[in-house]
Symmetry: D2
Subunit: 232 residues, 4 copies
């Protein structure tokens, strides 16, 4: 029989989250409460400042990506908010929304920047956190993120490592920028986060955007139909 | 053919959210960015203070409720973060996590408090936002929430209406408390929110808790099995 | 604590489904096994013949509808078969894939055909099971279905009622055909099925099509991007 | 822009599935229509007989496994059939319902039975398709399945390979049975199926069971609550 045990929270007469009374959690910034529920302790002032920037940076990113299309399409089929948002989150797989986690896992591994680049070049794989479709010289969101990490004294070995990876790659093959996912991955790692939470952080950050899209779709009359061609 | 149009955000070279440059959104508190993406404008200082309290109050609530069980069970079947969190959100239907939206809809209707109570009593239905399993005299989270709304000058006609509904009901049938969902519903309505976002707000607030539970479940070895009995 | 009890099946040393030994279920046509697990008894020969026709008729219906778009889009985001198929099923809400259940509920109600049409005309609502975008004189799938029901001696009061509804509506407003959903709804009702299984039957019938689409999508290289326009 | 193209089916005036007119598909056994939509051609008589056995064998398997718990829990939260069934399918991840696909992939690889066993023993991993909690001498469903494959002239090299794997493993470590997933994986491979459809076949087979469980849960009054313990 399943025996559910948790370190996370407690309902009932004296509700708690990670050892804090819920009434005190209600006084926290939402991003601090997120930090608390995921890491099990409150952030320092500088950690708090950095973390809110990371979350706010990913809140929404246009209408044509898979998660938005999936959420809005499912709403248009005649479904409620929870079903539609869940469909959007389902789309956040390995290829869409997965770069932060992949990059965290890569830089938290014991391999050196050089070994990682060598291996990726050999396998012909792209490197998560490096390169951008539009930005060729600099991803301004990444630069802003790194500047803030510098100011707050958070930038450390993992951010260095992803920058080294970019440099190694640029020397050997072609000049690429550090993108915003790479910057977040470096900083989150320097903040001591388990890479298995990388996708989770992105999901938390993007869910408000999905809710907004589903709400907007509710005012559309008909369900979404795409053009299709039968090749049979 | 589907022609996706949106007022919400824009990707590409100069990303924006609701008319704000993404670089400026990155400087906002996460709860303010959520307000922006959903309402289309920035909150005032007092609105901001109120909204973060509402979000933080719902971040997690123990391990035995349907959304947590569903998320953890799906993870235990051998699934990633996105699939598991989505399964948790799916559980947030009409009976679990739906009270805020139901209550907002009810108090935003044109019916008076008296008419609403009469109708509910006639149909033998419960009233969303009223009553609590444990708290018989006062739900301390609701009281704290209302106090803050009062201080911030936000408390208005909709909060009055839900309080009236509680009083009408208590007079006619049995003394019940205003619960935290009712307080949130009143305040969100006074803040000018569409009731169709009630469930969405709850989903946004609870997603971090679901991510935490899925992460905790990742360290369990086997998949969850429940005892079952075949009555056939 | 949850105490799972079921009349449906039993795992363990002597597995059973609805009182039948699993080894015997393995000898049944799949559509008969579906009937057994849902209705709790085996179908007669004629019921079996009718039911397989209903299931096979809905197996797939092109690439541009919401469920297919959602399933393929989620796969393209880098997800496995279960996550992608589930996203497709999520899209089967009230407006897409819901007509069979809505029609069954309508004709199983105590209202007469006349009352139903009057009510729908008053509210300006469409009638599930009636009308088709392309077929103006006759929906050939519906005709084939009804013919078979006639031959097998299954056609009864509920099929009559949906035909009456079509006639009433055609007299009062405009000539419409009985569509395939209406035919299935009438026949399933005459076969004694609970209307709350109408959507479930459609999900069972369409899941193979969704699996096929997800499999086809696996050979596409990149993830699906749609064009979008920011109106902000 | 997304340009949906498919070989699977066509809606509109003359609907088709894999080159067959829908009216003809309506005359097929449902399991034959499933074969058609997934493989792109009709099964032979013997293939048809084998395939229906495989599907019917997996239709349901008790109430306590993750997919059933997830589907019923989500329904109990106040959700419709599509949302609840999808939650059940989400649970069918790598550890629950994944053995057929894993086993197909393994035996369709170029490695010999000996190499596979050696590798698995070295890594300390279990072998999909081999071993059973209850059956120590023989899994009767596997035996029945293999017998039928033999009779129908379907048993071939892949079924041999999974049997060899079992023998190799039994010689080197401990006697284990070939279980029903291993038998299905061998036979499906001998029938020429892509291993990437292994999980899909299981999803198709189990969806009717999930629909039955969600329907049964609809008659329960309250939502499911589990006992939980806060260790914080």
């Amino acid at each position: 029989m399943t025996d559910w045990k948790t370190n996370i929270s407690k309902s009932g007469e004296d509700p708690e989250v990670r050892g804090e009374k819920l009434e005190e959690v209600m006084e926290m910034e939402f991003s601090d409460a997120i930090w608390l529920v995921l890491k099990g302790e409150k952030p320092s002032e500088n950690e708090s400042e950095m973390f809110k920037t990371i979350l706010s940076s990913s809140i929404d990113h246009g209408v044509g990506n898979p998660s938005t299309v999936s959420a809005r399409t499912v709403q248009s089929g005649g479904n409620g908010m929870n079903t539609s948002v869940a469909a959007g989150i389902l789309a956040l797989g390995d290829k869409h929304g997965g770069a932060i986690e992949d990059c965290m896992k890569m830089i938290q591994s014991e391999k050196s920047a050089e070994e990682i680049v060598e291996e990726k070049l050999e396998k012909g794989e792209t490197i998560p956190g490096i390169g951008h479709k539009i930005y060729k010289d600099e991803d301004p969101r990444a630069s802003k993120m790194l500047e803030k990490a510098e100011e707050l004294g958070i930038r450390g070995e993992f951010t260095e490592k992803i920058c080294e990876i970019r440099d190694e790659f640029s020397e050997r093959k072609v000049e690429l920028v550090l993108n915003v996912d790479g910057a977040i991955a470096g900083i989150m790692s320097d903040l001591g986060w388990d890479h298995r939470l990388g996708k989770g952080i992105f999901i938390i950050a993007r869910t408000p955007g999905l809710v907004a899209h589903v709400h907007e779709e509710m005012d559309e009359e008909d369900f979404r139909r795409e053009d299709g061609e039968y090749l049979g």
